[in-house]
């Protein structure tokens, strides 16, 4: 760089930091999956805004361990909350967290 012409003038080291980019990417990776997008969508459209695994498993057509894995990823990303009521586990969205994700995209 900085060879013959007006390209590559030691431009701004600006932009977001490495650390911020890392954490933002982790959050975005959680939603950058077709199965997880469908899970979020189904939970949002369910009665009372919540759904249990026995509803979600047949809806996405994958094995129960796989669905449980995706729900864990979404939970750890803070996008959904888990509440165990009796035998069943119910999941609901965390809208504020979705708002944070949107804010990352400029």
């Amino acid at each position: 760089m900085t060879t013959t012409s007006e390209c590559c003038a030691i431009t701004t080291p600006g932009g977001m930091s490495r650390e911020q980019a890392e954490t933002s990417a982790v959050a975005l990776k959680a939603v950058a999956d077709p199965v997880r997008l469908r899970l979020l969508s189904i939970i949002r459209d369910s009665d009372g805004g919540e759904a249990c695994v026995c509803d979600l498993t047949p809806a996405v057509g994958l094995s129960q361990p796989t669905v449980s894995h995706h729900l864990k990823v979404l939970t750890e990303a803070g996008l959904i909350e888990r509440e165990k009521r009796g035998t069943w586990a119910w999941f609901r969205l965390v809208p504020s967290r979705l708002e944070e994700l949107r804010a990352i995209l400029s």
Copy 2:
């Protein structure tokens, strides 16, 4: 499912379609990477809202082929535009496309 109690009533097959989830996930995967997030951020903060590869390569500290690869991914996702002026390639954001991505997240 549909065993003893009020869980698992053939709930809505609702939510987004498989195809829509697939295409949305492809778009989100493009930004779910720390390097690409930084590239977008650096381009946005650059003078005139555009930057060339020779600026971006030292800024992210990766090899030139790797940066070129990430820029191709972002270009194919419609998030940035490429314009070749002489020897150098200049990239600028496509704000409308970023808006579309935000719209995916409810």
